[in-house]
């Protein structure tokens, strides 16, 4: 899909939001196409920059697309519209996934993705809210985004506003104590207008999560902190949409959705390959990777 078509698609979605809530075949197909396009942009971005986190960006593309192209109430043509829902990318190293999604949803020109990690670019190695339209908060030092999202949700609650807050956290950054401080705070202060998605891709910088620092039983951990827990296949867009819908019903607790994902999803030689945690593809593999993503 080219840029114009994607923006048109996005605008139509906003227009027909209510009628599309049933997750029509057309909607799911459109989101899949958007996810493919974002994935391909991630490969190009990290390859151009010769740096960046490929694996953990590809693992969360489907979630980001489901959020930005459907779930979030936002206006890409006016990213700072006060009535918008908020999204915090706590795993800031997945910046390529966020930038690709923001660009394709219309926050800034798709062309600009080429400048990722370059000098004078608005697209920093990790998200910088002062530079990039649509980025809500600077992240990158892991474990800090959830607290911010909780604070946002508390602010909306205090102000009596209906804005929803979403945060994507990596499974690796669940090692950080601040995540669990924030989890306690949210349930203690009865903050229910927040949805956290865990990108459970089972990998972190030094290897498999359960080898580096085991975090299971994860669902039970969140539940014991007072959160309502859902689980979903983080690469099945229809299921992601469904679980987001279900999670909005009868809110009495903060909500977490554990999304089972695969690092490097969609590229056979990157999937589950820990070498590509913080590394781009060698140039000679880029074309093949883009072709494979196109067949997702």
């Amino acid at each position: 899909m080219d840029m114009a078509k994607l923006i048109e698609f996005r605008v139509n979605l906003l227009k027909e939001r209510s009628s599309l809530l049933k997750h029509s075949v057309e909607l799911v197909r459109g989101l899949k196409e958007a996810a493919i396009a974002v994935g391909q942009e991630i490969v190009k971005m990290t390859s151009n920059a010769n740096s960046g986190h490929l694996g953990g960006s590809l693992s969360c593309v489907d979630i980001l697309v489901a959020l930005y192209f459907h779930q979030l109430n936002h206006n890409p043509r006016n990213p700072s519209w006060p009535g918008r829902d908020r999204f915090v990318l706590s795993k800031g190293h997945a910046a390529p996934a966020l930038y690709g999604t923001l660009a394709l949803s219309g926050c800034f020109p798709r062309e600009e993705l080429k400048t990722f990690r370059d000098i004078d670019s608005r697209l920093q190695g990790h998200p910088d809210n002062k530079k990039t339209p649509g980025v809500e908060i600077s992240t990158g030092s892991l474990g800090q985004g959830l607290a911010v999202a909780v604070g946002m949700a508390l602010g909306f609650k205090l102000a009596g506003k209906n804005n929803q807050v979403y945060a994507l956290v990596g499974d690796g950054e669940l090692d950080e104590g601040e995540i669990w401080e924030a989890a306690m705070f949210a349930s203690h202060h009865k903050i229910v207008n927040i949805t956290v998605l865990v990108d459970r891709n089972h990998g972190q910088n030094d290897g498999r999560t359960e080898e580096v620092m085991s975090i299971e039983p994860l669902a039970a951990k969140w539940a014991s902190f007072g959160w309502k827990v859902f689980e979903v296949d983080g690469h099945n867009i229809k299921n992601i949409l469904n679980v987001l819908d279900r999670s909005m019903e009868n809110r009495s607790k903060p909500t977490v959705i554990i999304a089972q994902t695969v690092k490097g999803k969609g590229i056979s030689f990157v999937e589950g390959n820990d070498d590509y945690h913080a590394k781009p593809l060698p140039k000679e593999l880029v074309a093949q990777a883009i072709a494979e993503l196109g067949k997702r």
Partner: protein
């Protein structure tokens, strides 16, 4: 200790903070206060009693408290965050640096119990590094009020200002040395004593000691200019360069390590100035403190007016030499 300062009033800066926070809270409904299980100590309990719906206890979790404050700031509230200085600047440093200040958020961090004069809890709780830690962050503003009166004015100015600010307060009761009338402007220091023999540049609790020392020096024929450098960042370069030019000798005084604080900021600013005046620094000399009464600690660690008088003469001799 004979009080030669014309003000018998004693009050801690944290008490003044607790009071003015309630006053401001009445005027501005967008003020919210966060604290980490130290509401009595930080005096935010007064706000909590008056505005329970706008007060949030984070428990003993300072890192999350800073993050929640950041989130609140993005929704239009003005969060005022309080804990002891050792935790605000130390424990939660990364959250202050990367989440609050990097994102340019309007969060006010008011840290109490700063310096060695926090007293009997001992060196684990005595923050002698917080000015250094906070002032090295780009875009951060760092304020150290000299007394209770100035604390109230500083908090008002801080709320008016848009952007992150660190205010450093103390635990002990100290004399009021500033007056009601003089305005408080962030980044604009005040001359409390005129003189051209040397300049004593002090902040916080040490302004009182500097004034006492100046009184003693006057009786010995030495006229010291006393500057209350209440804003460490941005530093008032105009008042500093004038002091360098007009008095030719500088002494800094702070309840903080001599590394990285006010003294360092002054030296950095003067580094390329010609002629460069001799600079002596009064402060904690790169050691951990210990338990004790504030007055005893001030004496033992070389922060008293007597130490200032002695150092003043030394720096003067360098000037004359």
């Amino acid at each position: 200790m004979k009080n030669t300062i014309n003000s018998p009033q004693l009050m801690s800066t944290r008490d003044a903070y607790g009071q003015v926070l309630v006053e401001i809270g009445k005027e501005q409904k967008n003020i919210v206060v966060l604290n980490a299980d130290l509401s009595q100590s930080t005096r935010t309990s007064l706000f909590a009693e008056t505005f329970p719906e706008r007060f949030f206890n984070a428990g003993i979790a300072e890192q999350n408290m800073m993050g929640v404050a950041a989130g609140l700031a993005t929704t239009g509230f003005i969060p005022v965050v309080s804990t002891l200085a050792i935790f605000a600047a130390g424990r939660a440093y990364d959250q202050v640096r990367n989440t609050i200040v990097h994102s340019g958020l309007n969060v006010k961090i008011v840290a109490t119990h700063s310096g060695i004069t926090m007293g009997k809890d001992g060196s684990s709780h005595q923050s002698i590094e917080d000015i250094a830690l906070m002032r090295v962050i780009p875009d951060m503003t760092v304020i150290v009020p000299a007394d209770a009166l100035e604390t109230k004015k500083a908090l008002r100015a801080t709320i008016e200002y848009k952007g992150p600010v660190y205010i450093r307060l103390g635990r002990p009761e100290i004399p009021v040395v500033t007056d009601e009338e003089s305005p408080f402007v962030i980044g604009k220091a005040d001359i409390l004593r005129k003189g051209n023999d040397l300049s004593i540049i002090a902040c916080g609790i040490m302004v009182f000691q500097a004034l006492k020392a100046a009184d003693v020096l006057v009786s010995q024929g030495i006229k010291a200019r006393v500057i209350n450098m209440h804003t460490i960042k941005p530093l008032d370069l105009e008042i500093l360069f004038n002091a360098a030019k007009e008095t030719g000798a500088i002494l800094t005084a702070e309840d903080h390590s001599i590394i990285g604080g006010l003294g360092s900021a002054v030296l950095e600013a003067l580094a390329c100035k010609e002629p460069r005046p001799p600079v002596y620094r009064i402060g904690v000399r790169d050691v951990f403190g210990e338990s004790g009464e504030p007055d005893d600690l001030i004496r033992k660690y070389g922060l008293s007016w007597k130490d200032i008088v002695k150092a003043a003469k030394e720096v003067l001799s360098l000037k004359e030499g």
